[in-house]
Symmetry: C2
Subunit: 265 residues, 2 copies
């Protein structure tokens, strides 16, 4: 019924495969060149506060779009979209804990739910590779290593927590180039937040990421740290939110937005 999904698939095909239940795995590498987004879905009562929180913490929570309350469409993201079904996997939060995973959330949908689409590092990784840089975890077929830091976020709207970062190792000249390239993409976490000594941001063991997979850092390399889209998921837990829906990590919403359209210059 569905042909195999891959880098050459168009975004609509990926969403339809998820919608029809044929795709329930991670979206890394699918529909290359199109923006994939993190989703946070909250009742309207919490949405205004979360909007202020994102505004106050744009590096971990770069807002690409916010839906109308109750709406399962969002023209800013895609022409043909069902927010409750087009993601290959969802997480449902109740009273500050992840209570379950779900293939779709049509049955959980409410008239007051507001969807937040947040930029994802897949976009800048695409730009890094187009510039000839080698991204270790992609070359090794792993998830990017992610770490809980001790860096406090700016509390706002009833939300608070600490920054989660992703790490990519580079030789110094490539690290400088990676900073230049990601600076062009503020809507997908932008420039790194740290580089070098991990202990300065509260990471005790680089070899033991809190999320994702281990990748090695060579003696002649520098670990470079970007704000990570896992941050808001951790914030939902830390803030004890009553009800929320997100995508499952790695199971992103694939949009119709070309990656290159997010480049500042």
């Amino acid at each position: 019924m569905f042909e195999t999904l891959n880098a050459h698939s168009d975004p609509e095909s990926v969403r339809k495969a998820a919608r029809e239940g044929f795709l329930n795995g991670p979206t890394a590498g699918l529909a290359s060149g199109f923006v994939q987004v993190n989703l946070v879905i909250l009742p309207e009562a919490d949405a205004a506060g979360f909007l202020r929180f994102c505004q106050a913490n744009p590096k971990p929570c770069p807002l690409l779009a916010v839906s109308e309350p109750g709406s399962r469409i969002c023209k800013a993201l895609a022409a043909d979209l069902d927010i409750a079904r087009d993601v290959p996997g969802y997480r449902i939060y109740r009273n500050g804990v992840v209570s379950e995973s779900a293939a779709d959330v049509a049955g959980e949908w409410r008239d007051d739910l507001v969807t937040f689409a947040l930029g994802c590092s897949f976009t800048f990784e695409h730009a890094l590779m187009q510039a000839g840089l080698r991204v270790r975890h992609i070359e090794q077929g792993r998830n990017v290593p992610m770490y809980q830091t001790s860096v406090p976020l700016t509390s706002a709207g009833g939300f608070s927590g600490k920054l989660v970062v992703s790490m990519r190792p580079f030789a110094a000249a490539d690290a400088i180039r990676a900073i230049q390239i990601t600076t062009r993409y503020p809507q997908v976490h932008g420039a790194p937040v740290h580089l070098g000594d991990p202990s300065l941001i509260g990471i005790s063991d680089l070899n033991a990421p809190d999320y994702g997979d281990f990748v090695s850092v060579g003696d002649d390399e520098i670990p470079v740290f970007w704000a990570c889209g896992v941050t808001p998921q951790q914030v939902l837990v830390d803030s004890g939110v009553e009800f929320a829906i997100t995508h499952r990590p790695g199971h992103m919403l694939v949009t119709d937005i070309p990656d290159n359209s997010l480049a500042l210059f």
Copy 2:
């Protein structure tokens, strides 16, 4: 006769003070906001080769202007200019060695001399400080520390040598910011060429710069290295050039070009 020169002096006053012999010291901090340049003056026979060398090595040798052979003026740099007298101190090279220093080179001038004006890090340091970053050697009233590296330059036009770098220490977040800011100024060395471990570019002791002054690097800081305008002076020596004139290090030509006009974006 001349009022005291300082940051508020206009560029023409600084040049005239040098021209009349009232200024024979370094130009750091004078006529703030205007571009100061490194000078390399060569006979026309060597100039075409040096131009190719600069083109092949734009980070240490960012060309801002090249004069007509024999001319002591250069409208691209300043309206009222005497290249042979407006620099507070010159160096004269004969057969690959610095043979003497001079307050002016009017007596050495020849009809075949071509002047190369190369960007200087003063311009990007001004931009760094305007962005609120603290530049250690300036705060400590010292010269920037400079190091001979093992990084080979691209040989061209009969010129060759190794890269000389300047070093400024920053905390990681400020290092990232400094990379962003200096990226905007490719005509004054642009983005750093290295950061972190000095040994990777052949620097054995960060506390013993080859030129300039020592500055300390804190445990929570990263040394950041930029290509340096001393590189071409070393190249003249290494290449055994028959005759050349440069400014004395730190004794720059002050131009009428506003620093901000060199920002790419």
